[in-house]
Each structure stands twice: as C-alpha cells, then as structure tokens.
C-alpha cells in the first residue's frame, strides 16, 4: 500500500506540474480553457433545464416516459463508455512503456494493473463527469432537488455507473487477451463486436419506445405514475435502469424509494471491482505476455514481403508525393489495432442506428412530439459526427509523431499536407453523415407524405457540419499537437481535444437553436394545415452556412500556422 501511495504521489506531482504551469503562454491557454469549459458547463446546464422544461410542460409525456428515455440514453452512454474503455485500456494496460518500466521494479502485477486502470478511468472520464454533472444540475434544478442531493447523485450514482462500465470493459479485455493466442485476435474481436452490436439492437427492439408511449398514453393525464409493469423483465437487471429509477423517484420527491436502486448499483459496482482485481491478480501478467505473441505473429518478414492492397511497390495513378502520403497514412491506420478496431465498432453502431431508425414508425401527428423527435435524431447525427471527428481527425497531425521530420524536411508544401488530411477525413465523415442523414430523414419523408424538404435540409446540414467539424478538428488538432504521444485515444481525450469537443458541441447547440423554430413551424403547417413561408428556411440556412464558414476559415488558418511552427 505504501508503495502504491508513493507512486501515486509522484503521478499527482507530475500531473499538477504539467497542468498548473505558470508560464505566460500556459496561463493564457489555461484561462482560455476555463472560459470555454465554464461556457460549456453553462450551456449544458441551460440546455438540460430547458429540455426538461420543454418535455415536462410542452410535450407532457410524464415523469415515467421521460425517465425511460433517460434510461435509453444511459444505456447508449454505458455502452459507449464501455467500448471506449476497452480500447483505451488495451493501450494503457498492454502497450504502455510505463507498464514495462514498472515490471522491472518491485511492484506487483495487481498494483500495476490497479494504477493503470485508475489512471485510465480518471483520464478518460473527467470531461464526461463535468458534462454529466452540469446536465444533472440543469435537470435537478427543474425538479427542485435539494442542493446536497446533486453531489450525492454524482458520487453515489453517476460515478459508480461509469466505474461499473469501466470494470466490465477491462474484464472483457482481459478475457479477449486470454483467449486471443488460441483463437486468434481478429476472430475474437469480430465476435465481441457482433455481441455488442446485437446487444444494442436487441435492447431497442425489446424496449420499443413507440409501444411504451402508446401504453402510457392510455393513462393520460395520470402519466407520472411508476409504470414498471410495461417494462420488459430484463430491464430491471440493467444499471442504466437503476440510475433512471433513482432519478425518477428523486423527481417525484420519494427519495426513500430511490435508495434500493442506488444501493443495488453501489453493491454491484463494488462486487464487479472486486472481481476485476481478482481476475487481474490471476491473469493480467499472463495476458500481457500474449500481446508479444500477437505482435510477433503479425510482424514477420514473410508477411512484410507479401504484395498487399495499396502496396508501395505497385504503380499508382496518383502523383508520387500524394501516393506516398496516402499509402503511409493507410498502413499507419490499418496496422494499428486501436485505430481500426475503434473504427469498426463505431461503424457497427452507426449501422445499428441506421437500421433501427430507417423504418421508425412515428405514428403520432403531434407537432411538438414530432419536432422534438426530429431534433433528437438530428442532434444524434451531428453528435455522432462530432465524436467521429474528435476520435479520428483530431489526432491525425499529432500521430505523425517524431517521424514527421521526414515530411517537413521534404519538398512538400504544408498546405498540401493539410489539404490531403482534410480531404481524406472529409470523405469518411461526410459519407457517414450523409448515411445517417438519409436514414434519419426517411421516416419523416414518409410521415410528410413524400415531401422531400426535410431530406434536403438533412443533406445540406450533413455537408456543412462535416466540412466544419473536419476543419475544426484538424485545425485544432494541429494547434494542440503533441508529437510525443503515440496513443490516438489519449490524444482524443487530451485537454486540447476536450476543448475542441466542447466547441463542437457549442456548434451543435447553436445549429439546433437555429433550426428549431422553422422546424416547429414546418410541422405545424403539416399537421394543423397552416401556411408555411419558405423564407423561414432560407434565413436559418444562410445563418447555418455563415457559422460553418467562420469555423472552417478560423480552423484552417490555425491548422496551417501550426504546421509552420518549429518542429
């Protein structure tokens, strides 16, 4: 224990010395971060409060339905934290140089595991805690939660919820590493990916939000009751439901009813943590050794000599410089497991989402409900682009690493390099954005009896959002570049990345504000047979383009300047 505290002391010292650097440049950067973080916190608080107000007082769907929607969002959140942790843990527990350093010192494997696990959890979850707390604050303010309950819910509900997800992630990871040497790494990953995709798909299939809305609506206006009889049986075993039920009973003012759910969550989390430590004690070192076998088997001379797709030896139609950089980026990406696995998982989630919503039966012709549904789907689409851009575009310049000398000392214009990264990233982000936009607009095109206006808006938005987010993440990624860090996930969760993500989310909220009023008018015109002035589309569309153009211009400028800095 003393040894663990000794190591933690120096880790904290290192963290504080780098975080609270008193040089003028760092201070300015710190104040800038504080303003953006503070602003974002405020936006999250206001958005959460206003959304709760809108749902409870305008749509009047009632407490139970609202908290079941929260439960669904928490399920997605749980899965996202879980998958993120699997990938980050692989890098920190199995590929980190610090682990090798500790292995040569008299520190037990379990202690090393514990250090890296906590390091990983705290490093990757700090921003999520900030966001979750501010959202909770906005939500709780509406329901008049007492002040002390916010901290209680954060520490006893939200933190254990995320910690449980992280524990489950390392258990899955250690199991993967344990069997990878026998079954093959890729097969196991495909299997795990399929299981996760099936879980998400089955969850939404069995919870069926539309059926739930119909069932609860029959009791209108008494819709604040606890309708757990409509829940499928398995839901009571899921942690997202425990959290949603705690919030539900707090919102009703029946906090004593919330205690069993909170206690269950705490007990399960503690038990899971104990299990993680036990498994780590037995298998961590052995599974760590497996990574060497996996690496050795994938890096043989024979494998290197085989002619591959996009092989450097093959002729290409591209000019030599372009060909060299594109092929280099391709191999650097697809030979790094933490890159392609994460991409694969995200693609699977996108496909599940697209398949789930393309045949969504919207049913109700109620203006507010449909406008809200549209906005939620729209926000999800943009949020997905934000996440993809942050994860894959932001680290693109930093990942050049110390080897960047080879390009910077070559006769290659930096703007060409920037443009190339921009075009490759845009192709990927725009394709997915268009796919999501088409899928999420199809049910509305059916609802509006084949009027294509919303589809056009979706595609217009997908274009601007993709260009703006790629520019933002590439530009800011260059400005906050860290050529020392090789781990893309750590880069995507660094302070600079967090700031970039917050700016992206502010952009997202601004877009929603810009489009919400004309959208509401459009649905009113459809369902209430009111006239719709098409100028209402032109103005927000223009504002949309102007905001995006400003972001693109500023981001490209700082990105290009960052490439001209001393290396």
């Amino acid at each position: 224990m003393a040894l663990l505290l000794h190591i933690l002391r120096y880790k904290f010292l290192s963290f504080f010395k780098t975080t609270f650097d008193l040089r003028a440049v760092s201070l300015v950067r710190g104040i800038g971060s504080l303003i953006v973080f503070g602003g974002f916190g405020l936006v999250a608080y206001v958005a959460s409060y206003e959304l709760t107000l809108f749902i409870m007082e305008k749509t009047r769907i009632g407490l139970f339905l609202y908290h079941r929607f929260i439960s669904m969002m928490l399920f997605v959140f749980f899965m996202a934290v879980n998958m993120g942790n699997i990938i980050v843990s692989y890098a920190t527990l199995y590929r980190s140089a610090e682990v090798i350093f500790f292995f040569t010192k008299p520190v037990t494997f379990t202690q090393i595991f514990l250090l890296k696990f906590l390091d990983n959890f705290l490093y990757s979850s700090t921003t999520l805690f900030l966001v979750a707390f501010m959202v909770l604050l906005g939500y709780g303010t509406y329901f008049g939660y007492p002040w002390y309950s916010f901290l209680g819910i954060l520490l006893c509900v939200l933190v254990p919820f995320m910690f449980l997800s992280a524990c489950l992630a390392v258990l899955v990871l250690m199991s993967v590493m344990k069997v990878a040497s026998q079954w093959g790494f890729r097969k196991i990953l495909v299997l795990i990916g399929s299981v996760y995709a099936s879980l998400v798909f089955l969850f939404f299939r069995f919870t069926n939000p539309i059926r739930l809305v119909n069932q609860v609506s029959q009791y209108y206006p008494e819709v604040d009751q606890y309708f757990s009889q409509f829940d499928p049986g398995f839901l009571s075993y899921l942690p997202n439901n425990w959290v949603a039920d705690v919030l539900f009973f707090f919102a009703k003012g029946e906090w004593e009813m919330a205690l069993p759910f909170a206690a269950t969550l705490l007990a399960v989390t503690a038990g899971m943590f104990g299990l993680v430590l036990f498994v780590a004690h037995r298998f961590y070192y052995r599974s760590w050794l497996v990574t060497f076998e996996v690496q050795a088997s994938s890096n043989s001379v024979e494998a290197g000599r085989r002619m591959k797709l996009f092989d450097f030896r093959k002729n290409s139609l591209l000019p030599p410089q372009l060909e060299a950089v594109v092929k280099k980026d391709y191999f650097q990406f697809f030979r790094e497991p933490s890159q392609w696995i994460h991409l694969l998982l995200m693609l699977v989630l996108v496909i599940v989402f697209v398949l789930s919503i393309r045949n969504l039966n919207l049913g109700l012709r109620i203006t507010n409900v449909q406008a809200l549904t549209y906005l939620v789907l729209y926000a999800f689409g943009v949020f997905l682009s934000c996440s993809l851009a942050l994860r894959f575009v932001f680290p693109a310049i930093s990942l050049e690493g110390k080897s960047f000398w080879s390009q910077l000392s070559a006769p290659l214009d930096v703007w060409k390099l920037f443009l190339l990264k921009f075009v490759i990233s845009l192709f990927f982000i725009l394709t997915l954005a268009v796919l999501v936009a088409v899928a999420s607009n199809l049910p509305f095109v059916r609802l509006t009896e084949r009027r294509p206006l919303l589809m056009y808006f979706g595609l217009y938005s997908a274009f601007w959002v993709s260009v703006a987010l790629v520019a933002l993440n590439l530009g800011f990624g260059g400005y906050f570049s860290n050529f020392q860090e090789k781990n893309p996930i750590r880069l995507a969760s660094s302070q600079g990345a967090t700031l970039t993500f917050l700016v992206s989310l502010i952009y997202l909220v601004t877009l929603i504000v810009v489009v919400s009023a004309p959208l509401l008018k459009y649905f009113e015109s459809l369902f209430l047979f009111l006239p719709f002035d098409f100028r209402m589309i032109v103005v927000p569309g223009t504002i949309f383009g102007m905001i995006s153009t400003a972001i693109i211009g500023f981001s490209v400028m700082i990105g290009l300047r960052s490439l001209q800095r001393d290396f």
Binding site: R305, G401, W405, S409, P411
Partner: protein, 239 residues
Amino acid sequence: MIELINVTKKFGSFTAVDNISLTVPKGEFFGFLGPNGAGKTTTIKMMAGLFTPTAGTIKLCGFDTATQPNEAKMRTSYVPDQPFLYDKLTGREFMYFMGGLYKMEKKLIQERVEMMIEHFEIGDWVDKRTEDYSQGMRQRTTIAAALIHEPEIIIIDEPMVGLDPRSAKIVRETLKRKSEEGVVVFMSTHSLPVAEELCDRIGIINKGRLVFVGTQSDLAAYKTRYDGKFESVFLELTK
C-alpha cells in the same frame, strides 16, 4: 553548396545560435562539432527547414530556404540525430515513402531501394515493421532512405550513435565516397576521431557562436599550441 549568412535563432530570450556565417563548397566534407547544447542541432534543423531562423539567410545549392524552400529541399537530404521512423511501415516501405516525397519515378525508387538494401546490408529485416527495429537498424534505414534521391547536400546529425562497428564503417565509407563524388556532407558529431578521419574542414560551435572553422592543416597548426591532441584543442575552445 551551403551558405549561412548571419544566421540567428532565439527561443524567447535564449539565443541558441548567434549570428553564424559559414560557406561549405561543393564536394566538401564538413564536420560540425560542439559540446551538448552548443547549437549544433538547432543549426542543422534550420538548414533542414524544421526551424525558422530568427534572423539571417540560409542558402542550399543557391536556393534561399525561406523563399524557395522546396527547391532547396529537393536537392538536400537530412538525417536526424534520433532515427524516428513510422513504426507501422517496414524499412522497405519507408524508403519507398521517402522516394515518393522527392517525386521519384517508381522504377527508379525500386532500383535505388534494392541498391541501398544491398549496400547497407539490411535485407534480413527490411521487410519487418520498424516498430521492432533496434537503434542501429533504424539508423541504417534512415540513412539509406536519405540517400534514395541522390541529394547534392547531405545534412546529417550524429550519424554514428547506436551503430555497431561494421555498420559505422559502412556509413563512414558511404559518406566519404559521396563527398568525393561532389556531394556536400555537413555532419555533426561528438566523435573527434571520426571528424579528424573524415572531414575536410571542421567547425566548432560553442554557446551558439562559431569559435573555430578550419581545414585539417589549420587544425594541425592549432594542435601544436597544446599537446598535439585534437581533444585538448576542443576542450580549450569550448571552455
């Protein structure tokens, strides 16, 4: 040919390179020496285009690195002090990558890569990803990749670090032969014997200033003032 005209580099209030002027003609093997932190790598990075000089002009083959950087870089090759390679590429792929950056035809790259593999004796592992290479393997691959486009100027920072005796011999002989073929070799090193053996002219930098520039005969004359050893001259000049 290399021309440095009143070149200065400052990092905030710290002056790393202080008003250096130097000319290295075609075919000369120039040794650049100095203690740690004297400004060798900073000077070299400015020549390679990785740092922008605070003041002064650098010309490579007559091209100003500030106004015609690509023309200057096209004729130059830089080998850094730490041989960082893209770790997911094999050594062969890295050489092809470098050839592409210098706009070479595929057929020519192929010929030169085979030539380099044979010359630097790297055939046994050139098709493995560089993430598993030792320091020496990385160093040899970096130097081989740097010579792919047959540069007119080679700027090389500490080339002997991490090389085994056989590899060091190959590198020494290659650089000497290149210089005899008319290529300018600008080499920074901590090894005084290597500098004495290879260089036509030697420059010593200390605290950002050039404190000695001279040929081997100038150096010999200087050495007689001390105990006849280059080491004593170096220690005296960099005190």
